[in-house]
């Protein structure tokens, strides 16, 4: 049988698990300020996460999807993007969002069950969190198509989880992005689990990056706990997209160090040993080790950073907790540009019973 097509999937790791460079690093990795900024946002994610889980446990927040373990992937992606690019997130990529200007308070407000959390002051054009798995992927294709039509040198970046790669919408979006050479990068965050289903039961594919092959576009794996590796791979993919060369699939290999959400209990299904092993590879330690090798970090800086970030988180909690309940009018007032007549009466009824709880 004649061979008519051949493909391969590459894997990139620029910092090993001890924080040692595996070879020559990109320019930004020699810029201590830039590295410290990444480290700052990664640490912010970690502290924010703990606080959010705590608020949920004490009844002050709704169900929350933690991000612990994903910080390098999320921040690496954010750092590679330009502000004028557009992000289509799933629900736990706070690192990217914080990098781009979403505020801690907005995140709290969202998980507190209030649409106002999605009204990002910055970045105005980013999509809000997207709960129906994979349904965000065609949005990114559409955004990218708008950039292409208008000849703007901008890119869309869209996240999806390992579980999300089972949804048809994901493949459809890869395919259209390939067929129309759209400026979009698909970031698969392979954190090993989709709630209780391990990636090995989700698919027979050895890598998730190879999903790209179905669409005739490049796919690459990166160590998702290596923020330098992630940022580098993303920068290249974005440069390709911006140059009109089309989409790329990036699979970031990381691990969900938390329960799926605060409504989940991973001990029911996840081997304890796996979690323990994963903690050894977690991304903050790695970047810190590298920073220390550069002489750009020490315990004093660490302490100061954590103190200032904790204060930042506490301040956001304040803002969140002092945000008054939305009015019942707000159920109606954003549905259409102008409220149709029949809803005026319903809005009155809702006002009348406002605050009622049965």
């Amino acid at each position: 049988m004649k061979t008519v097509a051949q493909f391969s999937i590459g894997y990139q790791q620029l910092l090993d698990s001890e924080g040692r460079p595996t070879g020559e690093l990109p320019a930004f990795a020699r810029d201590a300020d830039s590295l410290r900024e990444m480290y700052r946002v990664m640490t912010l994610c970690r502290l924010f996460d703990a606080k959010a889980i705590n608020l949920q446990r004490t009844g002050k927040l709704g169900t929350y999807a933690p991000c612990t373990g994903h910080e390098a992937t999320h921040v690496g992606v954010g750092a590679a993007m330009r502000q004028e690019d557009v992000l289509c997130p799933v629900y736990r990529e706070y690192g990217t969002q914080l990098w781009r200007g979403v505020t801690l308070a907005e995140i709290f407000i969202y998980w507190g069950g209030d649409e106002r959390g999605t009204h990002f002051a910055v970045p105005r054009e980013d999509f809000p969190w997207c709960v129906p798995i994979a349904s965000q992927t065609p949005h990114a294709a559409g955004v990218a198509m708008a950039f292409k039509i208008r000849k703007q040198p901008r890119c869309a970046v869209v996240y999806i989880g390992d579980g999300g790669t089972s949804q048809g919408a994901f493949y459809e979006s890869l395919n259209v992005a390939g067929a129309q050479a759209l400026p979009v990068v698909f970031v698969i965050v392979n954190n090993g689990w989709a709630i209780s289903v391990p990636v090995g039961e989700q698919t027979a594919a050895q890598t998730l990056a190879q999903k790209a092959i179905a669409a005739g576009i490049p796919g690459v794996q990166v160590d998702g706990n290596d923020v330098i590796g992630v940022r580098d791979v993303m920068q290249k993919a974005l440069a390709r997209a911006r140059a009109g060369e089309g989409p790329t699939v990036v699979e970031a290999l990381t691990y969900r160090l938390s329960d799926h959400t605060t409504a989940d209990d991973a001990t029911r299904y996840r081997p304890a040993g796996e979690l323990e092993a994963a903690w050894k590879l977690e991304p903050l330690l790695r970047l810190r080790a590298y920073l220390e090798q550069l002489g750009a970090w020490d315990e004093a800086r660490e302490k100061a950073l954590r103190a200032s970030l904790s204060a930042e988180v506490d301040a956001a909690v304040q803002v969140y907790q002092s945000t008054a309940k939305p009015t019942t009018d707000s159920m109606f007032d954003f549905l259409f540009a102008t409220l149709p007549d029949h809803l005026v009466e319903q809005r009155e009824t809702a006002r009348h019973y406002a605050g009622g709880h049965g």
Binding site: T118, H119, P138, A141, G142, K148, I149, L335
Partner: protein, 325 residues
């Protein structure tokens, strides 16, 4: 002024907006070189290029989902679903995103989208090519659902739909695509949404209908006129939100209400009209409300489609019965 068919009127409206609004972009299956399986987009790709009139891959979910992405950037996508029975793969995007994005983001990202599709049966097409699924769409808040009944209304309502800042589902009755010709001025003037049209004035009974059924209702009304039964025929035009006031006014006058639609009866749009009159116009009713609709079965393959779609005889009998009561 040219006499045009409904499908030509659709083409005229699309052409007008493409010419006058650089943000308008068309996407759908086979809408480019082929001009659409019903020829609604014929000539448009040639005129406006492959980016503004795009052949989409065969995936309704992507068509609707890309429309969401395009709209978030301020473009005005007009998406075509080839037949209404193929709407289902797009419904997640329509219900969970198009209908909700403005509300979800408190007005930050808006969805000035039109999703066009053929509606209804009667053209001897294969399975899934003759569906009437408006009820499912109307139930979802955040959408407008519009269905024209003539070339002129198709032109004016489609212009209005494209210019509307919110998502509009635009249902084009397949039976009417080429049924009649009408003079339509290509003047870029939109018709108002959210309002019924009175097709015929009458005293004895209010008959509410939409889309292709308007023609059968009018024929029944003509027959009945010979029997001195006079029908107030209302074309719903915007199926959601419904212009209940016009219907209630008419019922206040006639005391009787018949609703005619092609879709299945159970939890159809007719039920909403009947329910609203039973709530707000009960004391005006001199007789039970009557719905004359498709049966609560699957739309049959085409040998029986005219046994499924309410016939002029069935409509006339129903109105007669109602007027007698």
């Amino acid at each position: 002024m040219a006499k045009v068919t409904l499908v030509e009127a659709v083409n005229m409206a699309l052409n007008w907006e493409l010419a006058n609004d650089p943000d308008v972009v068309l996407l759908g299956e086979d809408i480019g070189k082929n001009g659409g399986v019903f020829r609604a987009t014929v000539g448009l790709q040639e005129r406006y290029g492959k980016l503004r009139v795009q052949d989409s891959p065969l995936a309704e979910g992507v068509i609707a989902g890309m429309a969401v992405g395009l709209a978030s950037q301020g473009m005005k996508p007009v998406a075509e679903i080839q037949f209404m029975g193929f709407l289902y793969p797009a419904i997640d995007q329509i219900a969970n995103h198009m209908a909700r994005m403005r509300n979800r983001t408190r007005g930050r990202l808006t969805m000035p989208i039109v999703v066009r599709m053929p509606h209804g049966g009667g053209i001897h097409a294969p399975e899934h090519h003759s569906e009437s699924l408006e009820a499912m769409l109307c139930h979802h808040a955040g959408l407008r659902v519009v269905c024209p009944s003539s070339p002129a209304r198709a032109y004016g309502l489609l212009l209005a739909a494209i210019r509307d800042p919110d998502p509009v589902i635009f249902l084009e009755p397949t039976r009417l695509y080429r049924m009649t010709r009408q003079e339509v001025l290509d003047d870029g003037l939109a018709l108002p949404l959210d309002t019924c049209h009175r097709l015929r004035e009458g005293e004895d009974v209010t008959v509410v209908t939409w889309g292709a059924m308007t023609h059968d209702v009018l024929r029944a009304a003509e027959q009945l006129a010979l029997e001195k039964v006079s029908c107030d025929v209302i074309d719903l035009a915007t199926l959601s939100p419904i212009d209940h006031d016009t219907i209630l006014d008419s019922v206040a006058h006639t005391g009787r209400l018949v609703i005619v639609h092609e879709a299945a009866r159970n939890v159809g749009v007719g039920a909403e009209i009947a329910a609203t009159v039973a709530e707000r116009g009960l004391y005006d009713l001199h007789a039970p409300i009557r719905r004359i609709t498709g049966y609560d079965t699957v739309m049959p393959y085409f040998r029986l489609e005219h046994d499924y779609i309410p016939s002029v005889a069935r409509i006339a009998d129903g109105i007669r019965e109602t007027v007698k009561t």
